[in-house]
Structure formats: C-alpha cells, structure tokens
Symmetry: C2
Subunit: 230 residues, 2 copies
Amino acid sequence: MHEDDIHLILSRLILAGRLPGRTKLGEHRLADIFGVSRERIRKVLHRLGHERLIEVVKNRGAFTIAPDLNEIHVIFEARRILESGIAAHLAETLTAAEIDQLREHVESEAEALRTGDRDTWLRLSAEFHHRLAALTGNPIIQRQARELVSRTTMLVAFYENSHGSQCGCDEHRAIFRALSAGERGRAVKAMSSHLALVETRLRPLACVDAGPTLESLIEEYKAEVLGAPA
Amino acid sequence: MHEDDIHLILSRLILAGRLPGRTKLGEHRLADIFGVSRERIRKVLHRLGHERLIEVVKNRGAFTIAPDLNEIHVIFEARRILESGIAAHLAETLTAAEIDQLREHVESEAEALRTGDRDTWLRLSAEFHHRLAALTGNPIIQRQARELVSRTTMLVAFYENSHGSQCGCDEHRAIFRALSAGERGRAVKAMSSHLALVETRLRPLACVDAGPTLESLIEEYKAEVLGAPA
DNA sequence: TTTCCATCGATTGTGCACAAAATGGCTTAA
DNA sequence: TTAAGCCATTTTGTGCACAATCGATGGAAA
C-alpha cells in the first residue's frame, strides 16, 4: 500500500462526508488498518492537515473537521471571490470551441435533471465549476478552485439541501450565457449570486450517524482506489 | 532552535531571493548548520515543498526553484484572476474607515517614493496587495493571496525590474480610487492591468551571484528572526 | 458533595540506525 | 579518444525504540 493511495483514500472519505465531525484519526489505529508503519500514516496525516482536510493538534492527534456555520460562510465567500475572478477572466478569453464544450456540459446537466438522475446531476454540477477553473489553463488557479469546490462538496454532505437543488441548473446556464457573450460584468454577477444561492439552500442537518466503522469505510474506498483509479 | 524558526528563516531566505536557483538544500548540511537533528530539517523541507517555495524530488532532495518565464506568467495570471475577484468583492463591501486606511497606505507609498526610500517603497508596495486581501476578512483568500504575492516577491528578486518601478504607485492609486468609488468594473480592470504591467516590467537578469555561503546567509537571518520577530 | 491535585495510561514527537536509491567517477573495450 | 557499464560514495527514505506530553481517573481534603 503506497503512501499516495492512503492519502487518496482518506481524502475521498473525508470529502464524501462519510466521517462524523471530530472523528479522531489515531496514528496507531490507521497504521493497523492499512497494515503499514505508523510513520507513513504520520506523513499522510500531516499532509492532510496542511491541505486543511483535517485538523492536526500538537500532541493531541488528527481529527476530522466539524464545519460550523461560520466556516461554511467563509468557504462560500472565498469561492465567490475566486470564481468571480475566474469568470471575469474567462469572459474575455474563451474560444468558440471552449464555449461549445461548456454548452454541452450544461446540457448534460439539464438532461440529468430531466431524467431525475440525481447522483449524476450532483457530480456534473460540481464538475461545472472544476471545468471553469480548468479552462483558465492556469494550474495554480485550478488547484485553489479544486480545493474550495471539494471542501464545499464535503459541506453538502454534512448539510444536505432540503428541497430544490434543481434551481442550480438555470444558474449554471446563466453563467454560461454571460461567458459565451463575453460580458464580464454579467458573468461575475451570475457567478456570485449563484454561489450565494447555493449557500442559502444549505440547511443544517441532524448530525450524521456514526453507523459504519472506520475500518469498513476504509475497506470500501480501498477497493475503489486500488481497483479502478479514477 | 524551534521548528517554526527554521521554517521562517528558510522562507525569508528564499522569498528574499538570496539563494540562486537550483540550490541544493541538503538535509545533513542544514542539520549541521542549525544544530538540530536531520528529522527536523526533513519536516521543514517537506513543508516548504508543499508550500511550493522549494521543489522536493523523491530520492534526490530539496532544491530552490529557478522560475522560468512560463512559470512567471502563470503566477501573474493567477494573481490577476484572484486579485480581480478580491477587487470586485471589496468594491462592494469596503467601509469608510477601511477606505481611509487604504488611502493612508497609498500616501505612505507615495511618500516613500518621493524621499527615494526604495526599500521601504518595495515593502509597502507588496503590503498594499496583502492589505487588500486582508480587507476581505476571509482567511482562505488571505492565505491564497499571500502565497502568490510572496512568490512574486521572490520573482522580483530574480528578475529585477530595470528602470521604472516608480510607475506602480499611480497604478495603486488608480485601484484605490475605483475601490473607494465602489465601481466594481473599474476596480477589476485597474487591478488586472496593474498586475499585467508589473509582469511586463520584469526583465531577465544575469543569474545571481552565489557570493555568500549558505551558512552565512542563514546566520544573518537567524539573528533577525530570533532577535526581533516581525 | 465538590474541588483540587496527583498519578497513570494512552498517544504523539523525536532521535538513531539501517536500508534503498541515485549520482559521479573509474575502468575497460571498441 | 569516447562511450558504456560497473562500483563506490553520498544522500534520502523508513522502521523502531524511547522520551515527552496530554487527558482522564481516582482519591483526599475542605
């Protein structure tokens, strides 16, 4: 079991929101689960801490983060700022081919929504933002955006939106229209208000059940990562 | 000597551009210099690598980064995107007190420029961007912006701008005016063109001299960090 | 009964020793 | 003379054992 694999498994586990907040990630326990030395786990844990996916407290250990309302707001505000910049940039640099590509994506979203394929729609919905970041062609921006979008995904897992996720599709389309028209100001506004709405739709949910054990969850993701690396 | 101190010393050394590109940072050598165990150096080195301040190659060691022209462009493009978003945000949220604070800063820059205090002006110039990021009140954005501005500082040390650093002050003032007027579109444009101009002004310089030894440089910064922590 | 202190248990941090890998020099052959 | 391959040295990676630190539990005193 390689170090990167362990990192990937734990990342997905956290990002999928499968771990209750404040779950302790003991070094010895994880070392046993993965069947590797404690030092390797240590390294991964510190790396995750640096990526802000977990919280590492000196002499106390590593814990999953329980996002409070304030932190949620900070993350969404950061996304509004960063992705507004992305939208402003793209409005002036997108090529015709890239616009076509984006249009196809938005239509895929609409299609998934029509057929009621909620899982697909959720995936496409997050991918829309990833794709916008990728279209800047800038690896730094791409990394920063990916990090924030991922953390949002984690939040959505904690605070499930109650009813109308459906609204999002029209908002994406509005962003797309502004971008394809090359209207920078409108694109920025569309992006900003879209993210504000997504945040608003989040509603606190009763704290997740701690049903599955850490061991079983890791086994599940281990198979996924090692079997078919996406 | 604490771990954070070592990290801070090496950070400043790198950010100040005192180390030639591709300088090897050997673990054993640094351990001797700082008088600590190799493991502590290891940790710091990996942390610096994660912060992209150095490049850590598996089984090869850590090296300072020799920024090529393409990387410079990527960093400045990222700054344009991110700081455009920041400008757009601030244009709509700045309070009167914050505007006054900004005005004072810009005037300090102008003053430093008038008196020919180039070092002070350079510091204030970078601080202007840090301050804008801080004014968002968003720790995530602040961290991302600080990282990019720091990397730019490092670039400026490598590729010294030949003549007119002086131009920058008017550009900052233009940004300030747009922000204080609450004109989002103009603020974004001012920020974007300012950063584009800064990039343009950079000119490749003959590779820096390797004059001072690593040991003497570290001693210099060690005194600074431990004596008067800024 | 409550609060404070001390000791114990568990968990993380650190240094050391060994293993693995890569680079550079040296030898040899074409 | 040059190039290719091998060996030695240097440097990084890893596992293990011990030290330090933190939290909790239990007992004693007010």
